[in-house]
Symmetry: C2
Subunit: 226 residues, 2 copies
């Protein structure tokens, strides 16, 4: 019992979420090897002996999706002995919320965005990993404006509320939302208004914080309070 | 380059923090094996093939400290290739804030509480791991009353402020602290007062939430918003 082999295979898996076509979507790759050949999965791969976990996550993401220059956050490490059907593989999951237009994601038959509300069957425990990333994002959302990572630099409060609603998967009361959000650290009212032909112009807001996941701020590992 | 061995040794390391003698303290064990023989370390050990990471953390903590029935939270996975002087060892760190009197920690020459403000030289990257656990606790403290895990069931606002100050490592303004904290979800004013001979009685408060790390709530993995 005490002589069990102590070495394990270690992978990194990367959850990339965005808002696209009015839905929260995850970037998935189609597996071309067994196990789970031809099933969709979040991008992942083995950690090399010479790299740390952050480096492994960046490299694997680049290799699998060509997405580069992104701030990935370590999400959680999943180590159920049965999570891989053949080997003992522990995976360290990473996570980013991005604005898809900031990155050149060239989708193909093997690399595509999928609505998180309508995921195809996924390899391994990848559905659980995506669910965990959503859960953590929702928890944070109640405390800090993580959704700004998904917004344009200037946005209306309606756009902000929509982003929150998509992640929280519930409708929010407009009046309460505004009352709460208006006190958010770093939120700044602009003397500019949205130009929309159909509606009356709405005031624009911005965040004074640096955007974590935009190309404008490559690799700035900001210490957020969130 | 692509043929690097893909298996790694995996450990769990467990940061246990408490408030004791008016200071934030970490539970450390003295190593009796190389590397770092006779140096202090946070309790840790290898993950077995047949157990998941939570199980490994609970088992290792029990073996090394006899602390049992505790809700451990996964903190972060540390995987720097140079963190272990001999092997490639990735460690998944776990974390708990506890009230020491709820657990039977029998300290010895090889198992002791150490003030986090005055740690001895530690093995591996264990100082960094403790620092990370403090950083994350501080971040949370700004958002939710995580410190209640360190308080008695009934407490005065002064006691609560002291717990916050110890973790934040700074003095807080009494008036602002009270204004902010009084709106906390779940904080309930009691019709009871502290009995202290030297001072005038102070009102007691309680949290309606279940205490995560008390023996009264073994293993209740509550979904907190924190």
């Amino acid at each position: 019992m005490f002589n069990e082999i102590k070495t394990h295979e270690i992978t990194v898996d990367i959850v990339i979420l965005t808002i696209k076509d009015d839905a929260l979507q995850a970037l998935l790759v189609k597996r071309n090897n067994e196990p789970f050949k031809d099933k969709w999965a979040i991008p992942g791969g083995y950690v090399r002996m010479s790299e740390n976990l952050d480096e492994a996550a960046m490299r694997v993401l680049k290799e699998k999706t060509n997405v580069d220059n992104i701030y990935l956050e370590q999400l959680y490490t999943f180590g159920d002995p049965l999570r891989h059907p053949v080997s003992r593989v522990i995976t360290c999951a990473y996570f980013a919320l991005i604005r898809a237009e900031d990155f050149d994601v060239v989708t193909t038959a093997e690399l595509a965005w999928h609505k998180v509300s309508d995921l195809p069957p996924l390899a391994f425990d990848h559905k659980e990993i995506i669910q965990y990333s959503l859960k953590r994002t929702r928890e944070r959302l109640e405390m800090c404006p993580v959704a700004y990572q998904l917004l344009n630099e200037k946005f209306t409060l309606t756009e902000m509320q929509k982003a929150y609603e998509m992640i929280m998967e519930k409708k929010l009361d407009k009046r309460n939302f505004r009352k709460k959000v208006i006190t958010t650290d770093g939120l700044r009212e602009l003397n500019e208004f949205s130009k929309s032909s159909s509606k009356r112009p709405a005031r624009l807001y911005t965040f004074d914080n640096i955007k974590l996941n935009s190309k404008r701020a490559h690799f700035i590992k900001k210490e957020t309070k969130c």
